[in-house]
Amino acid sequence: CNQDFEEMNIDPDQPSVVEPGFLLASAQKGLMDDMWDEWANGRFGLMYSQFWAQNSYTSESQYKARPSEDNNNWTAWYAGGLKDLQAAIDLNNEKIAANSFASEAEKAAAVNQNAAAEIMKACMFQLMTDIWGPIPYSEALTGNKTPKYDSQESIYMDLLVKLEEAYNSIDADAPAFSGDALYNGNAVAWQKFANSLRMRVAMRIADVKEDVAKENFAAAYNTGLYFTSNTDNALIAYTDAPHNNPLNEDRKTREDFAVSNTIVDQMLADNDPRLSVYAEPAASTGTFIGMIYGENENIANNLPVGAVSQPGTAVLQSSSPGMYMVAAEVDFLLAEAVQRGFIGGSAAAHFKQGILTSMDQWGVDKASATAYADAQVYDAANWKVSLGEQKWLALYMQGHQGWIEWRRLDFGILRLPKDGILIAGLNTIPTRRQYPIDEQTLNGNNYQSALTEIGGADKMDARVWWDVAEGTVVDYNY
């Protein structure tokens, strides 16, 4: 009878074994879905970076979020894509340990597949520690019900090791591995992503661990394998519904977001040719009008949608890509590395190349691109502002990255919400997010000890380990 019962208790509708590639692709797509949607990007990333502004129910642009938003991000990333990546790695490691491959080539592909999964993990863990500060890392994804929080410093040190190891483990001659929605299993493309990401990670700690940053940056640079053109970009190429761009899906029923006056004003002033890609002219006037960032809900709700510039079709189409990392960022990283003396070369040249790469990414014609790039002067004495501004413009739609770079480079531009901040005691643009309420209630002891690392309280103006200076805010007069 037990035999029958054992069989009866096997779910006929769910497999107990899958290809690791099914999990990898699901993670790549799922992590992006949860990073790019109207909540994580719309009401958080794109608000905090002020690429967009809310034109109805504006409380998130005034930094008041509902508790479920933090919970959902945290849960979707950890228990969703990150867990799937870990499961893919575990499945491959079992096979590698048992050496149960048909051929050495197949084994090499599996090793490459694991490297890709590790790189994806590093990419997400960096984003998450940049958002929250200390987070569960070493004990995360193991089933441990109350994983401890690791300091941001220890996470960063390990991310650099992981990226180096991943790069080293990739066999460029191995056949393409399966389940790769980014690069179709192309080993060289992953080598480039590993090194580009290692540059991003290294540079972020340049102010607090200069030696480590320099060593890692130079090592990645010296491989010569990193993003050099937009064909290298780490993207999720969305298709048609139901696998369409999440912001495209949101736009079908709601029009809550317009392009912010912070970025529209900046681009209008510089006559930036990307403006007509980033935004649509306001329907009522035919001109570009940025939605005032952080306007009181009662005023904003009364404003017709057509009165302000809506996001451009390039970012709202069903096939508009979701971006993990693009080549323009690498150009700006190289410029900064030269500036900081990590590598040799011309900072101004990389700076200009960054602008051109960004123009190319958004489909701006060469002539307009060059004219604009020529007009931008790289100010070595005030390089954080020069680099920061252009990098921020190039990071359009990568809301989280735009905000994180503002926190690190302190390049100004961003304004306080016009009608104030709705969080009592918060007087500036947040420099981190509060932990989800679920962590307070479900992982309380570890949550409490994590707080000691960020000044004792779960504040939105606490600065993470690498954030050494207070962010600069433009005092804008309405």
């Binding site: 099914f22 228990a79 870990q86 089933g143 389940g179 298709t239 519904a241 017709p304 679920d438």
Partner: protein
């Protein structure tokens, strides 16, 4: 010496057929015929005859020298039959039971009928708490002696004529937590009140040990009417009509209309008339002072008011007028008959509802057959068969969702709209017209569909076809031994279809959800009954049961909208339709045994044991054994008490029981799930489920103990029944919410210990009884349950402890949790900051200070519950009232939160707050009283539940006039000449009035669903008050 006595049994002079007449101390007996007549051979004058009949007090008559007896029986108002049906359908003398059990007569349930038989129990049984939803055909949740399981099923087992009945409701957790969706109701509502002869509520695990695991939360045993005791054929008819209207709507403000910024904006039409801000779904707009303004309906060229400005004024009854008068008709025709060998009852019931929401209707047809025949003296076969076919269309959407029209009436909306204008929800070209235009020049809906569009275009429909019944054989081997075999089945197909029309706010959609649910039970039993020397009695049985359950679901939905408007098929999908199938099979094998000993009809002892083997547990740990021992002592039989004029009956009872429990299928092995959207191009997508299964699960156990006293005084004029119980469930199988950083948001574990202990009290009596026939009976039920989560989980390896479990998050502000050391169902959210003197602390800007993190805002569980049932009768007239009382327990109200935030509720425009602002009661940081004036808008935003959850946590206590029934039974002598008997007219009312409540604007009783997640109010659909008329007669 043996001779025959004959006689007639009557009720108020009317003959009573079907009364059991037993020669006391023997098994000899007979049943009265159609004219109440009987004949029985008796051994001598010392013989005593016992007359028993359901709903009447048992009577003993000494035969003496009489040969023709006149035996009037008295109705037992308390419905406390001496013979009760207990576990596995065994009829027992109530005095022998060592545990608490309360019975409700069928008439009590069918007189004031609720469409869901579960809600008909409210207030009638102590220790039983009912929460009914307010939606047509919606769920009723029943909890007996509190919740035993932290997040498993806490509903009792329903057993109809021995058939365990599925009571699933298949609603999503989103629906339970108030986040939207339809409430399709719990499946026990398929039980037809007209067919119920009696209902017994076995409250503790002791009473239930023989039903197995599912009985740990108590058992509701329903016996349907049969033709037993009838001679010849009779027909009875019961017909009624009930009218429903809304019991309570919020108190709305009617001074300000839609908008966000007070006065009209500067934009005007060519004639200088202002527009209102129709894109804003709030009511912080211009004063409703009659100013000519462009109404939302003045922009359509075909409309008579096109281009015109009309008065900007209030329509205070707009929401009220939206609802219709609901009409429910119920007709039951039953044919029953019998003779010495066979009996049967065949009944047909039709229930037809037109709901209070526009375009809502429901029908239910029930055919039920009940028959038994003696093939030989020793061999009896019987069968029960029920077929139920129900259909509904236009169930109200629930929760915080656009599909629920209450969202725009009570949470996000404009107050000034005119219901007559709203009714024209379509343009001549079929497109939607709504008040919530994207702009004055853009008529597409912004957030809210026109409520009539929601009701008439975005409707759902569903149907369920169900069969349940049994087939039983009984063979009497000799006087003491008998064997029986029984096959029971319950299966149904439940189909649900949901639509969103092209042109709605949401992307158009059609989905179909079909479930096939089946449970079969096969049972065999050997019984032994014997009385030795008329002093010592033994009833024993052993048996076995095999339970097989299966479930299959097929769900399909269109993706990315419908291609052809108005065509609702899965293939009419812009992107390929999405499909989902899941299901399970499960089996439990059981063996059980029971023995009961009685001595001198005074001392009783019962012992039972059961062993289960379940397919859902790991095979090395899937068999579990559980025993029970109960006893009772009828102390009123003692020498010295047995002739007491004060104490007429007294019994002490005590019991101990354990019940083992398994888990749901497929919680053991790890599997992967496919992305419901299908492959991404060429990439199949599979994920690790968010819940971690556990290969080491073991059975969970509930241990319960109870003692009670049942006493009656002054010739049964007063009775008091008191029970104390203590239930502990440990090793619970929980899918606990864990830090998602673990890689899983939930994990299965064996952990936790939950304690429920409490007191139940039933006091009943007849305060007034006059010779003229006037009688006042009253029954008071009261119960207090105390719940404590004693232990949650300590990791055996790390020693780390989990002291808090999250059951659910509300859509916005709060979660419902279980904390170690506190009661289940704690509402958790942000709170006020209080100073040492208990004053609320105010920020510099005059708004309340909020706690940094979340705090405990109280338990959603009631402190005590009760009911008061009064019956006044005089000759054929009877008036019955039922009060239902709940004291304590909290609820978080999303309706209050948004209704104030958006300026809809009365208090947002009362006492001049909009004109003058207000100063909230509290102190500044330095302890001085707050004197800062804030405007109303700021107040209802910053000081409301969205910011401070505590602001919208309310006490859920209430007193309700639940039922009122006035009935008149015509004397049979008036009508029997026409061949009609027992003609009864009644006027009945249900849910008539809220006599006490602390929850503003809403009905405090209403629940969103029958699930565990309670204490969160989403966007309550208003409950209804029903008044009905009923006529009943036999011929």
């Amino acid at each position: 010496q043996e001779r025959t006595v004959s006689g007639v049994v009557t009720d108020n002079g009317e003959p009573l057929p079907g009364v059991t007449v037993i020669l006391k101390g023997t098994s000899k007996g007979t049943i009265t015929g159609l004219d109440g007549d009987f004949k029985l051979a008796v051994p001598g004058p010392e013989s005593i005859l016992e007359f028993r009949f359901v709903g009447y007090k048992t009577k003993e008559v000494a035969v003496g020298n009489q040969s023709a007896l006149q035996v009037p029986l008295e109705v037992d108002a308390e419905e406390l039959e001496e013979v009760v049906v207990t576990a596995l359908g065994v009829s027992r003398d109530e005095r022998s039971l060592g545990y608490a059990m309360q019975a409700v007569g069928g008439d009590e349930l069918s007189e004031v009928k609720s469409t869901n038989v579960v809600s008909g129990l409210a207030g009638k049984v102590s220790g039983v708490q009912i929460n009914s939803s307010s939606t047509m055909g919606g769920s009723s949740r029943i909890l007996i002696r509190g919740a035993n399981s932290i997040n498993g099923n806490n509903q009792p087992l329903f057993v109809v004529d021995g058939v365990p009945l599925d009571n699933s409701n298949f609603t999503s957790s989103n629906q339970e937590r108030g986040a939207g969706g339809y409430d399709y109701g719990n499946a026990a509502q398929d039980i037809n009140p007209d067919d119920i002869a009696s209902m017994s509520v076995l409250k503790g695990a002791a009473a239930a040990a023989l039903y197995g695991s599912r009985a740990a939360n108590g058992v509701i045993i329903i016996t349907t009417k049969s033709g037993k005791g009838r001679k010849g054929i009779g027909v009875s008819i019961n017909a009624g009509v009930t009218f429903d209207n809304i019991l309570r709507l919020p108190d709305y403000q009617n001074s300000y209309g839609g908008g966000g910024a007070g006065a009209f904006g500067s934009a005007t039409d060519a004639n200088g008339n202002p527009y209102a801000s129709y894109a804003v779904d709030e009511s912080w707009g211009p004063k409703l002072d009659g100013t000519p303004a462009r109404q939302w309906y003045s922009f359509d060229e075909w409309h008579p008011d096109y281009g015109q400005a009309t008065a900007w004024e209030a329509h205070p009854n707009n929401v009220k007028d939206f609802f219709e008068t609901g009409v429910t008709t119920n007709t039951n025709v039953a044919l029953s008959g019998g003779n010495d060998v066979s009996n049967f009852r065949l009944s047909y019931t039709n229930m037809d509802i037109n709901g209070v929401m526009p375009n809502s209707e429901m029908t239910r047809h029930t055919v039920s057959f009940n028959g038994s025949t003696k093939l030989t003296d020793k061999f009896t076969v019987s069968t029960v068969a029920n077929y139920v076919s129900s259909k509904a269309l236009g169930r109200p959407g629930t929760g915080y969702d656009g599909g629920n029209v209450m969202q725009q009436f009570n949470q996000w909306g404009q107050r000034q709209w005119d219901n007559e204008q709203m009714k024209q929800y379509k343009n001549p070209d079929g497109s939607q017209r709504t008040w919530n235009r994207r702009g004055y020049d853009d008529g597409r809906p912004k957030y809210a569909d026109n409520p009539y569009w929601t009701r008439y275009e975005n409707y759902q429909d569903d149907d369920r076809e169900r069969f349940f019944g049994n087939f039983a054989l009984n063979y009497k081997i000799n006087e003491n031994f008998s064997v029986s075999g029984k096959v029971m089945t319950d299966f149904y197909t439940d189909s649900r279809r949901e639509r969103i029309a092209v042109g709605s706010v949401d992307i158009s959609k059609y989905s179909e959800d079909v479930r096939f649910v089946k449970e079969n039970n096969y049972e065999a039993m050997l019984r032994y009954d014997k009385t030795f020397d008329s002093e010592f009695s033994v009833n024993a049985f052993v048996g076995g049961n095999i339970r097989k359950q299966s479930y299959k679901r097929n769900y399909g939905t269109t993706v990315n909208g419908l291609s052809v408007a108005g065509l609702y098929t899965l293939s009419n999908s812009n992107s390929p339709a999405q499909l989902l199938d899941d299901g399970y099979t499960k089996q439990v094998n059981s063996a059980f045994a029971s023995t009961s000993f009685g001595y001198r009809n005074t001392y009783f002892l019962d012992a039972t044991m059961r062993v289960d083997q379940s397919s859902t547990l790991p095979t090395d740990n899937n068999t579990y054994f559980y025993p029970s021992v109960t006893g009772s002592f009828v102390f009123s039989e003692l020498e010295g008490l047995n002739n007491s004029s004060i104490l007429s009956f007294g019994k002490l009872r005590a019991g101990f029981a354990e019940v083992g429990n398994d888990t749901d299928p497929y919680n053991i092995l790890t599997t992967y799930s496919a992305d419901t959207r299908g492959s991404f191009g060429n990439f199949p997508l599979y994920t690790v489920p968010n819940t971690l299964n556990n290969v080491d699960l073991k059975p969970e156990t509930t241990r319960s103990f109870e003692v009670g006293v049942d006493s009656r005084f002054l010739n049964d004029r007063i009775g008091l029944d008191v029970t104390y119980y203590r239930n502990t469930t440990f090793d619970q199988i929980l899918d606990i919410a864990t830090s998602a950083a673990s890689g899983y948001s939930r994990q299965y574990i064996n952990a936790g210990e939950m304690l429920n202990h409490g007191l139940e009290l039933m006091l009943y009596g007849t305060p007034v009884q006059t010779a003229s026939g006037f009688k006042w009976d009253v029954t008071v039920n009261w119960a207090k349950n105390m719940n404590e989560v004693v232990e949650l989980y300590t990791d055996p390896e790390t020693g780390k402890e989990i002291t808090n479990l999250r059951l659910a998050n509300a859509p916005f502000a709060v979660s419902v949790n279980a904390f170690k050391g506190e009661s289940y169902g704690q509402i958790v959210g942000t709170g006020y900051v209080y100073d040492d003197n208990g004053n609320k602390v105010v920020n510099e800007d005059g708004t309340y200070k909020v706690t940094d993190g979340v705090v405990n805002l109280g338990s959603s569980l009631a402190k005590w519950t009760g009911g008061i049932n009064n019956t006044f009768s005089y000759k054929g007239i009877s008036l019955r009232t039922l009060l239902d009382v709940r004291y304590g327990g909290k609820v978080f109200s999303t309706t209050n939160m948004w209704g104030k935030y958006s300026g809809i509720m009365e208090e947002t425009a009362a006492n001049g707050v909009r004109e003058n602002g207000l100063i909230v009661e509290g102190v500044n940081e330095d302890g001085t009283p707050n004197t800062t004036v804030i405007d109303a808008n700021t107040h209802f935003f910053a000081n409301g539940g969205y910011t401070i959850a505590e602001a919208d946590v309310y006490d859920a206590s209430y007193v309700k006039l639940k039922e009122l029934a006035l009935s008149y039974k015509l004397p049979n002598k008036l009508v029997s000449n026409y061949g009609i008997n027992n003609v009864t007219f009644s006027v009945v009312g249900r849910n008539l009035a809220i006599l006490y409540s602390e929850l503003p604007h809403l009905d405090p009783e209403v629940t969103a669903s029958a699930g565990n997640i309670q204490g969160i109010e989403g966007a309550q659909v208003p409950s209804t008050r029903s008044i009905g008329f009923n006529v009943k007669f036999d011929f």
